[in-house]
Amino acid sequence: MRHEIICAGIGGRGVLLASTILIEAAIGSGLKAVASDEYGMSQRGGSVVSLVKVGDFASPFIGRENGGILLAFEESEFYKALLFLKKGGLALVNTRAAELPPSIAGLLEKREITCRLIDADGIARQTGMFQSANMALLGFFAAFGIAPFTKEVLEETIRSRVPEKFLAKNLEVFGKGFDAAMKMGNAGDRRTDMV
């Protein structure tokens, strides 16, 4: 099993926590995995990209058009990271928008990329946890059931990673993200061996 996952977003919004949960979920499932935290100088509000590779890789880096999964925690950072997503890849984007601009939609279709939009910020805000939009996106991702990142495995990793004080709320947001994908339907129609 090999996955190349790109987590892209902005500082202060839990991108690094999300990627740490992904790598620990993979390792906890007995897989080899390596991750890289890339962050610029500014701590809040700057671009943050974190990469996770599952499988027999030596380096944690992802080449242009090599990534299989793109988790975008912010719409503009989604565009920047698109160069790294391969043909036929999966992109999940946190955005309030109902659809993407025509040029991007056309590109995604041409490159056979499955793309789903989710208002993860909205879900997090409803729960009174604005900072935990990352959990909503992870829950949304869990609904695709791409091994090893099933709902059960990700939940268990979140339990081991998130401090007790915030755990219940985080799991609630995670669950709502999962439900949002199920409601949309066709989340589970991706074969797990595709990526």
Partner: protein, 597 residues
Amino acid sequence: MHSREEVVIGNQAIARGLVEAGLEIAAAYPGTPSSEILPGVVYFRDMEGSKIHTEWSTNELCAFEVAFGAAAYGGARAACFMKQVGLNVAFPALMRSREKSIEGGLVIVSCDDPGPQSSQTEQDTRLIATLFGIPVFDPSSPAEAADVAYHALNWSFENKVPVIIRSTHRVSHARESVPLYGPGTRRVAFREGHVAGRGRKLGIVASGMSCSLVYDVMEELGASEEVSLYKVLKVYPVDEALTGFVDSMERVLVVEETDQVIEALIGDAKKVMGRRDGTVPSAGEITYDIVRDILSRVLAGAGTDRRPFVPDGGIEEALSHVAVVPRPPKLCPGCPHRASFFAMQYLWPDTIYPGDIGCYTLGISQGAVDTCLDMGAGVTLAEGFYDAFNQDGKLVPILASIGDSTFLHACMAPLYDAVRNRKRFILVIMDNSTTAMTGMQPTPQSGVTVDGTRTRSVAIEDIVRGLGVNYVRVVDPYDVPAMIGTINEAFGRVREEALPAVIIARRECLLLVKGAAKPSAYPADIERDCIGCKSCLKTFDCPAMSFDEVSKKILIDDSLCTNCGICYYACPVQPQGKALKAEKKAGRPGAAAPGNP
């Protein structure tokens, strides 16, 4: 056998290896990408119940000498950690230490920053080590870094010479599962030498993260069999097997960061491709795409490109139709430094602003930082500027800025130098009570050590007065009129008494206090008030603000804004900004009475 594993970053892995090897003394000065090593030592020390003294030193020379003293004369197993430019600060001691026989063991971890991402310059620690004959290792992954750290400390202890471990930010900040062994029981099996491929036409020699990248790219390009890969782990002294490998290949490509070290050690200019002949870019980080590009070209040249990578230009085309927010590095929303820079820039927009190394180097985007040379140069460059103008009979305001940790690291001697030589400039010490840029390490002033125990704290204002500065004021940078008034007053004093003046702009880093800067700054009514002049974007440059091209008004990102309310001073419509504008128009900027005299 190891009993358990833990998912850690490279820096924590280095700490783990050292703790397992019986480390007794560890000292460091924080600097990206090395900062997590010392806290890692504390973490694993406590996990194992080992007895290890740990300390944040005031600079890298202090760290080095503490470790060297403990190792050379005290017989201890010691280590010190720093970033690559920090090694320069420790250089005098490093030069002498290499010729000394040490009684204990000494490991120096110096983390390089290819790019550079968070340094003033790229610099290759391996080059310095090799030039001066100091053994140096270049691990390629976190797990290997743990083994290298364990081996290096034992090797130093047995051979009585210091050993350098060179990491890069891509190793230091990569994350993977690392086996944990009990103290003294780690089983190290290095993977170095001819590690992959059988072909004789092309051999690749690589080290560190570059080697890991080459390995992955060769797999992608389907070249793993026909291209031979030689992995270098110990860069100096170089293994003789490398010569044999090079001799057996028709052509050799060297991929390494950041300088020519292995390439120079091999030396065969006819056979070797690398930085010297331009095959590898001469500067900047070596990324996956760069390695893929180099290998594709070299394989094509050898007529063996099997699965060439062809980029889809359609992606750039599609992206050209959407607005992408650039997000360059900026000070955080609500950062007290931004308020200080705003006040400095307001008074004398075109004056001279010597800057220094830290978060506050980013004041460059507000037009309030002109230079970034090295730690401490904010003060000494101000002296040089003063002399140059003074010789021409001119006195211009010179406004230098440095941080609190930097002041203690490198500015005490320069400031005394300025007093003794009667230099006229204003030094703003931006005191946010922490070493923010590198991850919130406590400064000496905080009175807290690396493991959280209390120690004696030292107030910067006492030091400054002790150095002979008469004009010392402490101002809250959020009080913008007070800041402006104080800077103005300070310039008057500088003129009068021919001494530097010091303003300590004191407010805690927002990451330290966590949460809103102010609970209830009144919300801006952008719909009603904003005239779309963008002057706040220019002079305030806050990441929470952007310009909405549709409404032609400022857009505030609620999730980033901390309600600090300082941007009102940058707005010509709000009363705060209006007052500043009026003062300036009347030719009396900074006329309002300064705060706490």
